[in-house]
Symmetry: C2
Subunit: 192 residues, 2 copies
Amino acid sequence: MNVMNASPRRKELTRLAAQLFVQEGFDRTTVRMLAQEMGIKSGSLFHHFKDKQEILAAVIEEGTQNALMIARKALNECAAEPEVRLRTMARAHLETLFTDRNAHVVALFEWRRLDPVASAHLSHLRDAYEALWVAVIDDALAAGLIHGDRFLVSRFVLGALNWTVRWYDPSGPRSPDDLADELVAMIMPTSV
Amino acid sequence: MNVMNASPRRKELTRLAAQLFVQEGFDRTTVRMLAQEMGIKSGSLFHHFKDKQEILAAVIEEGTQNALMIARKALNECAAEPEVRLRTMARAHLETLFTDRNAHVVALFEWRRLDPVASAHLSHLRDAYEALWVAVIDDALAAGLIHGDRFLVSRFVLGALNWTVRWYDPSGPRSPDDLADELVAMIMPTSV
DNA sequence: TATTTACACTAGCGCTTGCTTGGTTACTCT
DNA sequence: AGAGTAACCAAGCAAGCGCTAGTGTAAATA
């Protein structure tokens, strides 16, 4: 029973759990289903995770850490112009959303199943990620690229982006980058 | 056991069920919790609904029918200018979303718990509602008010609007109508 | 060689789940 | 008065739930 273990075995189990949580939802996924998917018996599962809750927390933490890393890297590597940074951030968001889709769908739609302790811990991670967004939006507003309330704009943009997991098929003709660019174009009057 | 009953009692039970489904999620809401909230015993519940699934379907159907009615009425009563119709549709969307909040949150986040039969039936309702949106968006595009792909624009706008249930507090200083107007302004370069 | 560690197993406990059954009450209609 | 019906209740069943206890075994460590 490893409290904060990052063994490769545990990582793989977390990945499988994410898939099942998306397919069935957290509540309908039983420890027996998880175990079977992992090729072990249900009892053995509790050697890797203290309880079912911890599996959920592991899935969400993994996904959010990843999103944070990718976004920071992308922002570090791109130019300083507000327009470029806005586009970069939107692209990074969709990139993580669809390369790590299962984990993010779980994070978006099963967050409330977290117990208060895990939720508090993971909220910090999510807040750090959203702070990146707000900074980029602020720059774009200051540069006159977009208009409106900083708070509203970021919520609307994040909502539009997050909702894509409900309808967008990344294996179709349109790439995630196209999608991100179209959204940015939609809210940027200067780019018409 | 009424298959397609619209008795006032059943309507009230449906409303209470929606509230619990939002609070706890469909899977974690037990028939005993539902019964207690309704002031009856769990067995009596099955006099009104054939099974738990049917309660979920009733909640979602109620909400969607309502949204459709409100949107149609609002569009019928408003002016013919594409800009007005776009704003009207966004306002109507947020109006239903927050007057009938519980039912809509359930429809948005518990849809997948529907069995295939109920899902197929309700999909038609939802499609009829989305068709209203696409028509309004098409007019706005044709009038040059907004730009982009009709499909993408409607998805982005609906995503941004639906996501508001996650963060917006209608009892705050900003009214739902303000919210709708700000979103429309955000995507309409001409209104700067 | 002796000991620990990591990982898996079997078996099942205690509890909750959705739902059924068989019967009762209260009200309406003829 | 009698029949019909909608609404309810007490009791409980079969299945499934998360999780625990105790054991076996192979590899790593001392």
